[in-house]
Symmetry: C2
Subunit: 549 residues, 2 copies
C-alpha cells in the first residue's frame, strides 16, 4: 500500500486554510497513487489551539470543516486527519483529541489520544478526556496501529513529570498489527529530533513492525515544530525522512519497503533553522506587519537576531536602528553599520541624547539629592525602546526583541526598554549559544555577516561609563552552565554545586536572581522555545512568593 | 467536639512562615479547648504553588516542614493541614494533593483530593494524580467526611468545562458520617461566596449532616481568596461565619450546634474588599517595595486605583504623579490634585512636553511625510510610562497599573505606556463597575474621595485634541454587556446578538478586537482576578492564529 506522509504547517484556528492544505495534499498524493495520506495531530485546527477549544462556535466550525474535508478529498483515497471531537460520555472533559480515518466521503474510524501531556507547555487535560483502549484498525486488508503523539512516549527515560499507567504502543502491538502510524504535533527542542527517532527505532525493534510517523512542522507563537516525519522499517532503520523545519510530502510503498536513509542531526544547524522558521511563521501567519524592526547595539544578540530575521524574511523586509548615547562605544554604531551592509538592510541612526536629557530635566526636582544608578540606566534603555515602538507603530513593523536567555534568566534586561517587542527571537538561547550561532551564520554565509568585532568585544549594556556585563554577572561560560542545570534540567543548588564545583554562594546567588526576576519575564514578549524548558507558557512560577532555599 | 476553623492567609512558598502561623493557631485554639483545628487546602505551601511543585528541593522542604509542624503543635490537639505529598504509585503524576490529619506528633491519616480542577486558573492535573476513594475517617469517636475543595463541586450547574464521574461528597455520605469537613483554597470571583454557601447548604440538606468549610484567605499574585469559612447545620443553615477577605479563627462545638447567623452578600462591597486585599497582599508579601506609585490622569480608573491603594497601604505609602501634555484638559491636573488632597497623599506634577518634543525631533527624519496618528499618541503614553518607571526604579516604589478590563479587552491601552506596572488593580473590572466602585468608595467615606468631576467627565485618553473614548469604542454600557457575555460567560456572536439585540456588525467588531489584542495582554502586568474569567493565567489563547467567525 502506498502511504503518503503529509508533513503539514497549519495555522492555528485557520480552519478554511488548513482544510485547503489538507484537500490539496490529498488530491496531489491521490494522483500519485497514494491509497492513504496521513496528516499530523490536530491538523484541522493547528497545534496548540489552546482555549479556542473552549469556544462552542469554534468546535461547531471544526465539525463543519471536517465534514467539508471528508466530502472534498478524492473519494478513493483514505485520509487520517487530526481534530478535536466531542466526548460522547456524560462525564469527563467535553472533548477528545482524535485521529479520524476517512474514506469515500465518510469517517470510518475515530482513534482517541490516550496519554494526554499536561506538563511544561502542554495543557491537554485542560480540554480533553483521555481516550479508552480501542485496538488496531483493519483497513483495506492491513492492520494499522494508529495512535497519537504522546501515546508512543510512555518511556521511563522521557517522563520527568510522571509515568503513564497505559502503554498504547505495546497494547496495539499485542493485538497484532502490520504497522504503526503515529500522528504527532511534537515540538522541537535541542536534540529532540534524535530522541524521537531513537524512540521510534526502539519501538520498531521491540515489536518488529514498521512505523510511520507524521509530525507537524512550522511555528505557532512560541512553539516550533521540526517535522522530521519518516518511516522506519521493522528493524528500526529509517527508510523515509522528510526534512526538518519545512513542509513536505513523501510517499512510501509498504509492499516494497525501502533502503535505509542517512540520518544525522546537527544541534547548531537545527537551532538556527528553528529560529529562522520561528520568525518567518510569526511574521507571515499573523499577516499583520510590513517589515521587521530591530534595534542594533553593535552587540552579538542584536546582530544574530538581525541575521536570522534577514534569513527568514529577506533584507528588504528588515530595518535596523542604531541608537547611540553618550555611553555608547564607537563600535556601537560602526559595527551596526558593518552588519547592515553585510546583510543589505536599511539602517537608521537615531541618537537618544535629546530624550535622555528631556527626562533628566523632567525628573530633576523629584530625583534631587539622589545618586545616579539603575533608574538613569533604564531611562536610556527605555528611550530606545520607545523610539523603536514609535517606528513600529508608525510603519506597522514587527519589533523583534533581541535579549538572550541568560539575560532573561537573571533579569539583566530592562522591562519596557530592551525587552520591548512582539517576538523575542533568542529568549530561549543561552549567551554562549548566541556566539555559536554567530559563527554558524558566518560559516554558512562563507563570510563575516556578523562582524568579527561584534563577536570579539566584551559584552556590555553600555548604560554607564566602562560598564561590562561581568560587573553584575559571572562570566557567561559559568553563568550558562548554572542556568542550564537549574532552568532546563530542573537541578537544585546542591546538585549544581556538586556537579560543577562552583562556589555555593555563587550558585545560590544566581538561583535567587532567576527566582526573583519572574515578574519581569511575566511581562516579556513571547519567545521562541528551543530548549526542553523555556521561560514562557511552559514555566509557571508564582510572582508573589517566598521560597528561598 | 470543639472544632476550630483556621481561616489562614499563607504566603506561597514561605514554608517557615506558614508553619509558624499553623503552629501558633494550634497553640492558641488548643488553649481555648479546641480538640481539632482545620486549616485550608495546601496551607503549608500556599495556593497556588504552581511549578514550585516541580522542584524536588521544594518537596523535600515541604516534607521537613510538615514534620516540624506535627512535632511542634500541642500534642493533645488534632490538626488537619494541607500539603503536597508524594504519590506512592509507580505510575501517575508524582504528587497527591493531601489533607493530613495529625495528632500526638504523628500523621494519623492522609486524605487525597480526588477531583482536580484543570481549567481556567487551575492546573492541578499538571502536578497531581487524582486520589482514590478512601471513605470517612473515624477519629475520637466521630466519623469525619474529610475532603478537599473541588471534591464538593461535582454539581452539574457548576461545571462549565467538564463533569466529574465521581462524587466524593455523596460517597462519603453513603458510608455514614457525622459531619463533612472541606478544606479549600477556593478563589473569589463576583458572587462566588454565595454560590459556594448555597452549594454547601444543598449538600447539608441532601445528606442531613453538618458541614465545616475552611477556605484560604488572602491574595497571591492574581488570585484573591475570600475566606468566608463557616459551619452549616444539618438543615443547611449557616451557624458559624468567618469574615470575608481577612484572616480569622472560629471555634465551633459540634455537640451544642449553634443558632443561624445572618448572611448577606454585597457584590460591590466584596469587589472593593477583594481589590484592597489584592493590593495589600501583593505589596506586603513581595516585601520589595517602599511605597506604591500611581500615574493620575484625572480620570476614573486612576482615581479608583489610587483610592484602593490608599485603603490598602495608607496615604503615606502612596504617591501620585500627574503628567499633563499639550492635549490634557485642565481637569487632568486639578482633579488629580483634588483626589490627592482628599486621600492625603503626595502628588508630583511632571509635564511630559520636553520628552514628547525630544522624541518628535529624534524621529523627524524617519517620520517625515507621514500623518500624525497612533504612533504620536503612544509616544505620549510611553513618555508617561517611562517617567513613572524612572521614579519606581529610583525609589523602589511599586507602580500600579490603572487600566480597566474593558480597555484591556479591546486593546484600548498602550503597551509599554499606561500598561506599565507591577500589578494591574482594575484589570478584571469592567468600566461601568469602576464607576460603581467610585460611588461605593465615596459612600463608604461619607464624602467625595473620588472627585465628582472625575466621575462625571466624558472618558478620554487625552492623547489628541478633543479625543473621547467613544471615538473608538461604543458607549461603555454597551461595550461592557458584550464583553461580559463574550469573555466572562463564553457566549458567542449569535447568542450575544440574540440576547442583546445589538447590531451583529458591532458585536463582531468587538469580538474581533478582543481576539486581536491577545498580544498586548500577553505582556500585561498581572491583574487581580475578580470575575469568573479574567485575562491572565486562566485565559490562554494563541497570539498567532486566524480564527475568525
Amino acid at each position: 500500500m502506498k502511504i503518503a506522509l503529509a508533513q503539514m504547517n497549519p495555522i492555528v484556528g485557520d480552519l478554511p486554510g488548513n482544510a485547503r492544505k489538507i484537500i490539496d495534499t490529498a488530491v496531489q498524493t491521490a494522483s500519485q497513487g497514494a491509497e492513504l495520506v496521513v496528516f499530523p495531530e490536530l491538523c484541522v485546527v493547528g497545534y496548540p489551539p489552546m482555549d479556542l477549544l473552549d469556544k462552542e462556535d469554534f468546535i461547531r466550525s471544526v465539525e463543519k470543516t471536517v465534514e467539508q474535508i471528508v466530502s472534498d478529498v478524492p473519494q478513493e483515497i483514505g485520509i487520517i486527519i487530526g481534530a478535536p471531537v466531542r466526548n460522547p460520555s456524560d462525564t469527563g472533559k467535553r472533548l477528545l483529541n482524535a485521529a479520524l480515518l476517512c474514506e469515500g466521503g465518510k469517517q470510518v474510524k475515530q482513534i482517541h489520544k490516550r496519554l494526554l501531556p499536561t506538563y511544561d507547555v502542554f495543557d491537554e487535560y485542560r480540554y480533553f478526556e483521555p481516550g479508552q483502549h480501542q485496538g488496531p484498525v483493519e483497513w483495506r486488508g492491513i492492520t494499522l496501529g494508529i495512535h497519537i503523539c504522546e501515546d508512543m512516549w510512555n518511556n521511563e527515560d522521557e517522563a520527568p513529570y510522571h509515568l503513564y499507567s497505559a502503554n498504547p504502543v505495546d497494547e496495539l502491538a499485542g493485538k497484532g498489527i502490520d504497522l504503526f502510524i503515529n500522528t504527532s504535533a511534537s515540538p522541537y527542542s535541542t536534540g529532540k529530533s534524535e530522541v524521537r527517532a531513537d524512540l521510534v527505532k526502539e519501538i520498531c525493534m521491540e515489536h518488529q513492525k514498521p512505523f510511520v510517523l507524521v509530525n507537524q512542522v512550522g511555528a505557532n507563537t512560541e512553539l516550533v515544530f521540526d517535522g522530521r516525519s519518516g518511516v522506519w522499517n521493522q528493524k528500526g532503520e529509517q527508510i523515509v525522512m522528510l526534512p526538518g523545519f519545512e513542509d513536505g510530502v513523501a510517499i512510501w510503498d509498504s509492499d516494497t519497503g525501502g533502503d535505509p536513509v542517512h540520518t544525522e542531526f546537527n544541534d547548531l544547524a537545527d537551532l538556527h533553522d528553528a529560529l529562522v522558521l520561528g520568525v518567518r511563521d510569526y511574521f507571515w501567519k499573523t499577516g499583520a506587519f510590513e517589515k521587521a524592526l530591530i534595534g542594533l547595539s553593535g552587540g552579538i544578540d542584536s546582530a544574530v537576531t538581525c541575521a536570522i530575521a534577514v534569513e527568514a524574511l529577506g533584507p528588504d523586509r528588515v530595518m535596523g536602528v542604531t541608537m547611540p548615547s553618550r555611553y555608547s562605544s564607537t563600535g556601537s554604531v560602526s559595527d551596526s553599520e558593518e552588519l547592515a551592509t553585510a546583510l543589505g538592510i536599511r539602517l537608521e541612526e537615531i541618537p537618544i541624547q535629546p530624550a535622555v536629557e528631556a527626562f533628566e530635566s523632567m525628573l530633576e526636582k523629584v530625583f534631587r539629592g539622589t545618586k545616579a544608578g539603575v533608574a538613569e540606566e533604564n531611562i536610556q534603555a527605555r528611550s530606545r525602546g520607545l523610539t523603536l515602538m514609535a517606528i513600529s507603530n508608525k510603519f506597522n513593523y514587527l519589533l523583534l526583541t533581541t535579549g538572550n536567555k541568560s539575560e532573561m534568566a537573571v533579569g539583566y534586561a530592562t522591562l519596557y526598554g530592551d525587552m520591548n517587542g512582539g517576538l523575542a527571537v533568542l529568549a530561549d538561547v543561552l549567551k554562549m549559544d548566541v556566539y555559536r550561532l554567530a559563527e554558524h551564520i558566518n560559516l554558512r554565509a562563507g563570510r563575516d555577516v556578523v562582524p568579527r568585532s561584534t563577536i570579539e568585544k566584551v559584552p556590555s549594556a553600555e548604560l554607564r561609563p566602562d560598564q561590562t556585563d561581568q560587573d553584575s554577572l559571572p562570566p557567561y561560560p559559568v553563568l550558562d552552565v548554572i542556568l542550564r542545570l537549574y532552568v532546563e534540567e530542573l537541578r537544585e543548588a546542591d546538585e549544581i554545586v556538586t556537579h560543577t564545583g562552583f562556589p555555593r554562594e555563587l550558585v545560590l546567588d544566581i538561583l535567587g536572581k532567576v527566582d526573583r526576576n519572574e515578574y519581569k519575564r511575566r511581562q516579556a514578549a513571547p519567545g521562541l522555545r528551543i530548549s526542553g524548558k523555556a521561560f514562557g507558557i511552559g514555566r509557571r512560577l508564582p510572582i508573589v512568593m517566598r521560597w528561598h532555599r
